[in-house]
């Protein structure tokens, strides 16, 4: 079965790739010969360089023409996305008095796949990978925004590393199985996050089986999802179990009710690699916990298994989720390790590259527009080239360098 999915996906990939390639070639030939002979007003040479913003705010309508352009995200959608955005990025958005994101090629590629997907097949897995700060998370946010507009149910993990490491974190023995461990605070936080992202989409959903919490408390079949979330938030002890119940019900009901479920997990490699003694979570007896022993991680791993339909899993691997001595490479096989690779295989890898020259220029021009680059030399052509060279066109590095100049 897995092989057939892979074949199907690869055929989709090749088709979209060829589509992408075609439109790229048509765009890159900007110099227009006819303009030399036409009587129309000649376009300024700098015009294509200074265009950095598009009025197309609907992410579903973005095409290859919009690559490298910024679009503004309205506040009500930013409320859905902001948990996944890096704090320094949020701070910038606050200072710029608007939330803007750049349209980039990997996001369009992913969108192309999702549009042409047959949801009746087992869950396909897409894996974003790339160097540090190259925009994996923002690519994911772009896709989440698309799916949110299309009315998908979003199951989003902003930063999986939070659940497998930490100091002085409350770790409780699971009420469901004694050899598993709960993270009450993190589970409650995630329930809140889940409810905020799916407002209005959970109303018709009800559980199909009975869940017994204690001798006296139980949730009968037909309890609404909202009630389960409220129970998890009021009784923190059972919040991890509530997460498990929600995920299980979603998997079961996706096909029956024709839901569309998007599972987005950032830094998925945290689920599969071990942490060192210092940073890993420990139980009361100071024993280091494996990621699989934590009930949250265990439940989310099930979401990534291709044994259910009407869903899509988008994952991203990041170097930060690995131990410091295992960050030499940024490729999925290296970061996931043997276990993780076997669990996720087959997946569609999507490479998130650094900025192209056009994108980098657009970024710098956007900064100049928002009065962020203050150095007079930084506003000249020479200075822009220098910024691009020094940052190696890495989005994070570019923003970091622009912050001090």
């Amino acid at each position: 079965m897995a092989a057939s999915i892979r074949q199907k996906l690869s055929s989709v990939a090749s088709r979209t790739n060829s589509l992408l390639r075609k439109s790229v070639t048509s765009i890159e030939h900007t110099p227009c010969v006819c303009s030399c002979y036409s009587t129309a007003a000649k376009r300024l040479e700098q015009e294509p360089r200074t265009a950095f913003r598009t009025n197309e705010t609907d992410p579903r309508k973005h095409t290859i023409d919009h690559v490298g352009l910024y679009y503004s995200v309205p506040d009500e959608e930013m409320a859905v996305l902001k948990t996944g955005v890096h704090p320094w990025h949020l701070r910038m958005m606050k200072s710029f008095n608007e939330s803007c994101m750049m349209v980039r090629k990997p996001a369009l590629e992913l969108k192309g796949y999702l549009d042409k997907l047959n949801l009746k097949h087992p869950v396909p897995r897409f894996l974003l990978y790339g160097r540090r700060g190259s925009g994996k998370t923002m690519t994911m946010q772009h896709t989440i925004q698309c799916c949110h507009k299309n009315g998908w149910i979003i199951v989003h993990v902003p930063w999986a590393g939070q659940w497998v490491r930490g100091w002085y974190k409350e770790v409780a023995v699971s009420t469901y199985k004694p050899d598993r461990y709960d993270l009450p605070a993190d589970s409650a936080e995630w329930l809140n996050h889940f409810r905020a992202q799916n407002q209005g989409k959970l109303t018709g959903l009800k559980t199909t089986s009975e869940y017994i919490w204690t001798k006296r408390e139980k949730a009968e079949a037909g309890t609404s999802f909202d009630e389960i979330i409220n129970f998890g938030l009021s009784r923190l002890k059972f919040s991890s179990d509530c997460v498990g119940v929600l995920l299980k019900e979603l998997r079961e009901q996706a096909e029956l009710k024709g839901l569309k479920v998007l599972v987005a997990v950032d830094s998925v490699n945290a689920f599969y690699v071990q942490w060192n003694q210092l940073n890993a979570l420990k139980n009361i007896e100071k024993k280091k916990l494996q990621p699989g022993e934590i009930s949250l991680v265990h439940n989310f791993k099930k979401m990534l298994n291709p044994d259910w339909t009407h869903g899509v899993a988008i994952c991203a691997v990041s170097e930060e989720a690995n131990d410091e001595d295992r960050r030499e490479n940024f490729t999925p096989v290296y970061l996931l390790g043997q276990e993780g690779f076997e669990a996720l295989d087959p997946f569609v890898p999507i490479f998130v590259p650094e900025y192209t020259e056009k994108e980098a220029l657009s970024n710098i021009n956007y900064f100049i527009d928002r009065n962020w680059i203050q150095n007079a030399h930084g506003k000249t052509d020479e200075g822009k080239k220098e910024l691009m060279f020094v940052s190696n066109r890495n989005p994070f590095n570019l923003a970091k360098i622009c912050a001090q100049s």
Partner: protein
């Protein structure tokens, strides 16, 4: 007569006339360069460099001086005052850390000002907001610079604190040192860059601990003006 005039003049001009002015006018500057006088100044302009030298140019046959750091570094990432500030803040040679603090400091100031700028509605409001963090930093240091300082002079067994005119390099050092020290006094749990941001924004508006320190020094000089002839 002559002695009384000398005393009188020193009382009036003494405070003002000390320092670099006198040195420059009366004593010729010693030749301190490590280079032999035959060495020629380097050319740093890129356009001139790309043209190349003509055959009869004297630089074909003369040795050339190496360019200094502040001339050869891009203005994007280098500022002399910021470098000095970083070096004064440094402890135990841990420059990497201090540079990070300075970088974040500039970033913080920029965030503060750019947010105000982007929230301002009219052009008039916008034009009044200074967004360049380096300009703000320099203005803050300028506001903390003391005009006078005191030196210790022992005359007939008694030590006096005699007011003198501060040299420019001394002014800069004092101003930066006061800004940094006033931040070190504050609570330790707060990151240094945040404390510095507040202090510099205060100093930019002529408020804060460092500016008060400057005023205090001025007051001491004012009260000790009678000793001005003792230096």
């Amino acid at each position: 007569m002559a002695t009384s005039f000398k005393l009188f003049s020193s009382k009036i001009f003494g405070v003002i006339l000390r320092g670099p002015f006198i040195c420059k006018s009366f004593f010729p500057k010693a030749h301190l360069s490590v280079y032999n006088p035959k060495y020629v100044e380097p050319v740093l302009d890129k356009d001139t460099l790309s043209k190349g030298l003509e055959d009869d140019d004297i630089r074909q046959h003369r040795p050339i001086k190496a360019p200094t750091t502040d001339l050869s570094v891009s203005p994007l990432f280098y500022d002399d005052d910021v470098r000095k500030f970083t070096n004064i803040m440094m402890k135990g040679g841990n420059k990497e850390r201090v540079r990070e603090i300075t970088r974040r400091l500039l970033e913080n100031i920029k965030h503060l000002q750019v947010e105000k700028y982007n929230k301002a509605t009219t052009d008039e409001e916008k034009s009044q907001i200074e967004c360049n963090p380096v300009t703000i930093f320099k203005q803050a240091v300028e506001n903390c610079k003391p005009l006078l300082t005191t030196i210790r002079v022992v005359k007939s067994g008694v030590a006096y604190r005699v007011p003198v005119c501060a040299r420019p390099s001394d002014q800069r050092f004092r101003a930066m040192k006061w800004i940094i020290d006033s931040c070190r006094d504050k609570e330790r749990r707060i990151p240094m860059e945040n404390k510095l941001t507040w202090e510099i924004m205060d100093a930019y508006n002529n408020q804060g601990k460092a500016v008060r320190k400057k005023q205090e020094v001025h007051r001491i000089c004012e009260s000790n003006r009678a000793y001005a002839h003792l230096r």
